[in-house]
Symmetry: C2
DNA sequence: CCTACCGATCGGTAGG
DNA sequence: CCTACCGATCGGTAGG
């Protein structure tokens, strides 16, 4: 007996979720990050997902709705990853975990060749959708601020402007992909560890 | 006597340079930064520059050539600004000047609404053009590395990996536009000063 | 620097 | 009646 290709692999645990829909989201996420929103056609996404362009529109009302769902999922998943990486220790330990996880996350994305940051991609959305997306990302941002505040309260961090410091640390991590190349001197984990040290220095008075 | 609109303003000092060409470059720089390369049509640039789309192609062989020239000019001008801002003092003074100038430069661009970083824009170029552009930007990158090395030599900086530290500082400055908003608590100069302090902390052992 | 266009491809939708 | 698609083509616009 030989299994048909369709029978290979794990069955969907949630049968309300369409496998085709997941393939579209995965392809769109990769291509939007690599070529940008305007640089990615529905045809390219469809080809990558193994279907016709027209079928994209059965699953998503428009290309912009697809972008919106991609970014929404990215923010939710990123927060889940970060929250899981950050334990319950001191502010130093938690900041190091946060930065390490954030940087490593950016460097171990589905594809190694990201060119466009999430801020660039979000700029194609309507202002209302951008506002909604910021709300989705709030826990993401707040977790870092809470860690910084914890350090200030504990007396281990000296921070004049907490918001600006958190933006600087986030930007440093977010755009690590702009210079990192595989097979360089440091791997993703080593870069994450080095970035964690840099972030800790940013919270320490000279 | 009433001056015609065309008579108002300063005459071009260099008549070999086409005013139209400069208008195209200025419009393209603004729109590429705001909407990205693929999100900016030749028609939009032409309208902003006060001419027909077809006329763009009298001044530039292709849209990609226009992008190449825009990024080339940005890199050269940015380096000139940074080199002028950095004096001959100690490494601490020079690093503070560099970061202050870099951040302020990003926040006082022709338009206040940048969404796309230079790395995103460069990714639309051919690999060969990207390599050339990196060569153009070398002095830009090297100036920061020289300042960091000076601090290490003077004993005022403690840096384990000079290249990664320089990338982190550059990224922090480069993407300050992603969170900065006019009329916020801090103006561009204050953010630059705060970033200078953060960069100095990054070079100081805990 | 403009008018008049081209081959192709864009995002999106038709009937079946 | 539903789902998950297909081949073909819509009206407009892109770079050139």
């Amino acid at each position: 007996m030989v299994s048909t290709p369709r029978a290979v692999g794990s069955a969907a645990l949630i049968d309300e979720e369409s496998p085709a829909r997941e393939r579209i989201l995965a392809a769109a996420t990769r291509f939007f990050r690599q070529f940008g929103y305007e640089g990615t056609s529905i045809t390219k996404i469809a080809k990558e997902a193994g279907m016709t362009p027209a079928n994209i529109y059965w699953h998503f009302p428009s290309k912009l709705d697809l972008l919106r769902e991609v970014l929404h999922a990215v923010y939710l998943n990123s927060y889940a990853d970060l929250a899981a990486a950050v334990g319950d220790g001191t502010a130093e330990e938690r900041l190091a975990d946060y930065v390490q996880a954030y940087a490593a996350m950016q460097l171990t994305s589905p594809d190694a060749r990201s060119n466009f940051g999430y801020a660039s991609l979000a700029s194609s959305l309507s202002l209302e959708d951008q506002r909604e997306l910021i709300q989705t990302g709030k826990p993401y941002v707040n977790l870092l601020r809470e860690i910084l505040q914890q350090g200030v309260d504990e007396g281990s961090f000296v921070i004049e402007n907490l918001a600006v410091t958190s933006f600087a640390i986030s930007n440093m991590c977010e755009y690590v992909f702009t210079w990192f190349r595989d097979h360089g001197r440091l791997d993703a984990e080593q870069v994450g560890a080095y970035y964690a040290e840099l972030a800790l220095r940013m919270t320490t008075e000279r």
